[in-house]
Each structure stands twice: as C-alpha cells, then as structure tokens.
C-alpha cells in the first residue's frame, strides 16, 4: 500500500504509541485527584503542556487541550466573537477556503448578527496581506486565516497578516492544523494570538488537539462541567492522548529540517510527472505549498472513480469531487481558486508522508496516468473535447 493521504490523517509514530500504552497501563490516574497516583498523571499532563508550548514558542499556560482541531477552531472563534460582541465589534475577516470548522462557525455567528468578510484567495490560493489590511474595519474583532490550506496545501503569509493585525489592534487566529509539525511556527515571531492544532496530522493520536491562546485573552468554554484547563475546557483530560501528542510533535519538529528537503524533492517529482498528463493542472501555488502536498485537476474525468481505481492499485488518496463529499458541489477550496465545476470534479489530492520513496512516487505517477487515460476512454465529456465540440478548459 502507498499511503498518500497524510492530510487526512497520519500513521502514529511508534514512540507516541509507546507513550500512550505506558500511560494507559501504569500512569492511568485522574490528574484532578490529590493522591500521588493522580498527581503523577498531573505531572505528565503539565510536562506535555510545557513541551508543546516550547515547540511553538509559547508559555505552558497559553496551551489548552481539546479533542482536536475542529474544537480548537470553534472555541477560538466563539471566544473572540463573544469578546467582540461585548465591545460592539461584530465584524470578522476570514478567507473563502478555510476549513469548515471555521466557515461553519462563522455561518452560525452570522445568524447571531455578525458580519463576515471572506477574502479572495486568488488563483494561486494565497490570501493577500494588503487585502487583509483594507478589509479590517473599526468594528473588526477577529481575523482568522489558516496557516496552510488542507486541500491544496498553499501556505499563507501569516507573519505579515499577524503584523497587520497587531498594528490594527485586531486579534489574529490561525488554523494551523495542516502546518504544525510540517512548517516552522513560532507564535511570537509569527504574531499569532490564537492557533489551532490537531495531533493526528503529525503522527499523534486522533481525538486530541490543542489551542494556543496568548495570555490575557479570555476563552469561553464550549464544554461546561469542571475546572480542568483553568475552567476553559471541562472534562477529565485525555492524558495518554495528550502526552502522545507532545511526543509526536517533538519528533516532528526536531526532524523537520531532515524531512522537509526530501519531501519537497518527492513532491516536485510527483508534480513534474503528473504535469505530463495532457489537460491537467496543478491546483495552488507551486512553491508556497506544504512540502508533501500535491493537488491536480484532470479534465474529462470524475474524482471518485479515479480514487476507487487507485485504491485497487493500493494507492490511498483523496479528491474534492462532489461524489466524495456526498453533495452536488465539488470542494469549496477548488471553486475558491477559480476552478469551474466541470474541472473541480476531476481533482486528486496526494499528500505524501516523510518516508515516501522515489520508487513510490514513480508508481503513483504511472498509476494515475493509466487510470486517467482509462477513464477518459469512455468519458462522453472527453469525447466532446477531443472532437472539438467543446473547448478544453485546462
């Protein structure tokens, strides 16, 4: 099997699994208990907090643990919106291709009277800082722009955006779920006020994440019922998951300089190979993108059938076609960079893992090329295109 869907989830690191197992077997106490067994768990929890904080340039008390990236996004946005509402600031700036954890939360806030400006991400899939600046108003309480896009991998100029927000006295949240552990991030240097992360995107366990919130910014709990996380997130802490997340993040951050050049070489080899397929196009900027992300559109075919046939050949990938989402519309990300429906249905995302080899990349190129040609062979759209009845889009 060639696993090329690391943007969906990653395989857990053996060290993280080991960490989890030992905590489940031995240090399984409740961190809120006062006896020694419970306090051991508390120590483990606080060590994980300190380790994670140090990986992103934060202070331990600025990290709160959540059950994943979506919860962190929800809590960050809801908290700043509540603050804004209190101060009569009910305008939020975001981008058209945020994750649904952000977009759907913003939709809810609109129902509550908030105004939301969704910035264009242009053909290259990158938000322009000057447009962030000009969209900020006197009543803007929050700018929320992702660090890197989950489908097309484009990296956003978060330092510049953070700088603008600081200057304009607006809080800046970034959904860094796809970026943490894959790109260098420092909340101080990048001028980040709030940041969301999810463990399973960097070889940690599922169902665990964290929210960084700069000290002095008040969070409102989404979950009530206990004093855990200083009253900001009730519920007994997932100590094994949290400690494993810290282990995985530490591994990812310390090995980043080793993995990144290899991943970029593999990514660019894959892009080069897939570009040889006629009437295909890379989605998003070719350079400012996550080291392992490749996303293509192939004209005349549909993504789900492509994925199923790749699965038959042992290749795991994903697509932004409507059929893979259960709706009639293809991915909002592909539409946001100007891909029309017809072409967006034929998309393929390949997100490589650090251990990918050049032989595997070549196998992916060969398989995708064959499957695309096969599906085009009985596609009525392709027939119309090659017979000149319709113009090619790509």
């Amino acid at each position: 099997m060639i696993y090329a869907d690391n943007a969906a989830t990653t395989k857990m690191s053996p060290a993280a699994i080991q960490k989890m197992l030992s905590l489940m077997k031995e240090d399984w106490g409740n961190p809120s208990s006062l006896y020694t067994h419970g306090q051991h768990a508390k120590e483990t929890l606080e060590k994980a907090r300190a380790d994670i904080a140090s990986m992103i340039g934060a202070e331990p008390r600025e990290i709160i643990f959540t059950a994943g990236g979506s919860e962190a996004d929800n809590q960050a946005i809801r908290s700043i919106a509540a603050l804004g509402k209190k101060n009569g600031k009910m305008h939020i700036v975001s981008s058209a291709f945020e994750h649904h954890a952000v977009l759907h939360t913003l939709e809810r806030l609109k129902e509550e009277g908030f105004e939301v400006t969704l910035l264009d991400v242009h053909e290259n899939g990158i938000v322009r800082p000057d447009e962030v600046e000009s969209s900020i108003r006197d009543d803007t309480c929050l700018v929320t722009i992702m660090t890197a896009n989950n489908e097309i991998g484009t990296i956003q100029p978060i330092s510049e955006i953070g700088e603008i927000c600081r200057r304009k006295h607006v809080l800046f949240h970034t959904d860094a779920v796809q970026a943490i552990g894959h790109l260098p991030i420092n909340v101080v240097q990048n001028r980040i006020d709030l940041l969301s992360a999810s463990a399973h995107k960097f070889h940690g366990p599922k169902g665990v994440g964290f929210l960084f919130v700069r000290k002095g910014i008040r969070l409102i709990p989404l979950i009530e019922g206990g004093a855990q996380e200083h009253g900001r997130r009730a519920g007994t802490e997932n100590v094994p998951g949290i400690a494993a997340m810290a282990t995985a993040l530490e591994e990812a951050v310390t090995s980043m300089s080793l993995h990144t050049p290899h991943l970029i070489r593999m990514r660019d080899r894959l892009i080069e190979g897939l570009q040889k397929i006629p009437h295909s196009a890379l989605n998003g900027d070719a350079v400012n993108r996550l080291p392992g992300n490749v996303n293509f559109c192939f004209e005349g075919i549909e993504g789900e059938s492509l994925l199923l046939l790749l699965d038959d050949r042992g290749i795991c990938a994903s697509s932004g076609s409507a059929c893979t989402s259960g709706s009639l519309d293809p991915s909002h990300v592909l539409l946001s960079i100007g891909r029309v429906h017809d072409v967006a249905h034929g998309s393929l995302r390949l997100s490589l893992g650090e251990d990918v080899t050049s032989d595997e990349v070549d196998e992916i190129i060969a398989s995708v090329s064959e499957v695309v040609a096969y599906l085009r062979g009985f596609s009525p759209i392709w027939r119309d295109l090659i017979q000149g009845k319709k113009p090619f889009i790509l």
Partner: protein
C-alpha cells in the same frame, strides 16, 4: 463495511458494453458536468428489439456501475420491456446503492428512456 456492494464494484471495475455504436439509431445523453455525472447511451434497435447497446459515462463509481448494469438489463430485450426499466430495477440488480447515490440509477434510467425517445423521433414509431 465497504462503500459499495460487490456487484457495484464488479460492474465498476469491469464495465460491460462500454463504447460507442457508430450506426446507433437511438442515442440519449443525460446529466451535466456541473453536477459531476454525464451518461450517454447508444442503442441499435432492430425489429423492436435492442440488438446492441453501448455507453459512455463521466461520473463516480456508482454512475459507471449503474450504466453498465442498465445496458445488461436491456440488451436483447423487446422495446416494450425496455420502456418499463426503472431506476429501482437497476439499483436492485446491483444489490443496492447507498442512498445518496440513488440518483446514479435514476440517470441510467433516464439515459435509456432518452435514447428510446430519440429512436421514436428518428423512426416515427411508437412503443
């Protein structure tokens, strides 16, 4: 649980009656690229019987499987029977489709009925 039944996967992996009939006397095309599904059916009808049928499909796995199964169900059948083909029959023959994929079987039914209409228009015959 797998996304699709074994039968759907079989018809998706090895679609029957794929291609074009150059001298077809009934052609139907339904769906649109915007929604991600297009089906085109070619019928060769002689003596009120579907002597040959071929299809071309742009779409997901269940769209391809539905087209393939529909062609199997009507090949060699009299037009009076073909006229009665429903999407339900196509879906049942595939051992079912997920709810949100039922529209694929509807497209298959519509493509065949549209090809029959085309045949009637061309020949002036009624079925």
């Amino acid at each position: 649980m797998a996304l699709y039944s074994e039968k759907v996967m079989d018809h998706f992996r090895n679609p029957r009656n794929v291609g074009v009939i150059e001298d077809a006397n009934g052609i139907g095309e339904v769906g649109n690229a915007k929604c991600g599904d297009i089906m085109k059916m070619y019928l060769k009808i002689e003596d009120d019987i579907v002597r040959d049928v071929k299809f071309e499909t742009f779409g997901c796995g269940s769209a391809i499987a539905s087209s393939s199964m529909a062609t199997e169900l009507i090949k060699g059948q009299p037009l009076s029977e073909v006229r009665k083909l429903t999407n339900k029959a196509v879906a049942e023959a595939l051992d079912g489709l997920p709810d949100y994929k039922m529209h694929c079987s509807v497209l298959a039914e519509e493509a065949i009925q549209s090809a029959l209409e085309d045949y009637m228009k061309r020949t002036g015959k009624q079925i």
